[in-house]
Symmetry: C2
Subunit: 110 residues, 2 copies
């Protein structure tokens, strides 16, 4: 059973769960209330998120609150980061071009 952060955030429902829990701790029912799927389905999504460390569970009486622990997202950030040049390069090129145009204009005294 592959269980890494990349796979965890691949599902849109799980990304929504992360977003909800990041803003405030919630229990299963509260989370499930915002979706059309069953509590069990949400429970399984949360299980995946806890298994890869993006969420931790704090028990309080019969309730269990989900807390976001998003440090693990740095793995994603690092991976994407190594390719950042590939999509900033072209903007840099555009910027250089514009700067060039501008300095030419200055020379011409425009």
């Amino acid at each position: 059973m592959r269980r890494d952060v990349f796979q965890a955030i691949a599902d849109p429902t799980r990304r929504q769960i992360i977003n909800m829990v990041a803003h405030q701790s919630m229990n299963v029912n509260a989370v499930a209330g915002n979706f059309d799927v069953s509590r069990t389905a949400i429970y399984k999504h949360v299980k995946i998120l806890t298994e890869c460390g993006l969420i931790v569970i704090k028990q309080q009486g019969r309730e269990r609150f989900y807390e976001a622990r998003l440090e693990k997202l740095h793995e994603i950030s690092d991976w994407v980061g190594q390719y950042r040049q590939f999509w900033t390069e072209r903007f840099d090129a555009l910027e250089n071009y514009l700067n060039q145009i501008q300095s030419k204009d200055k020379k011409k005294g425009k």
Copy 2:
């Protein structure tokens, strides 16, 4: 058929393909040569990558070269970015704590 960048990078083989193609354009056989799976399997992975715009195909004779177009990764970057505070906060807190200790020491003349 869901076909978004999040899902595309969820598979480790596809991440490897991205990495290979990012460094230099390659054809299917060249890519497949680096994996234990069949050419067809790689072909399907590449298809997914092209369908979400991370790779484009340049035909040259009977060969087709895969070129990385990693701009789409900014979607991932943006999504992760909104949660960056959640894993930098604690380091900031630690830093503040250390600064506090240090200034106390200064007052004591240590």
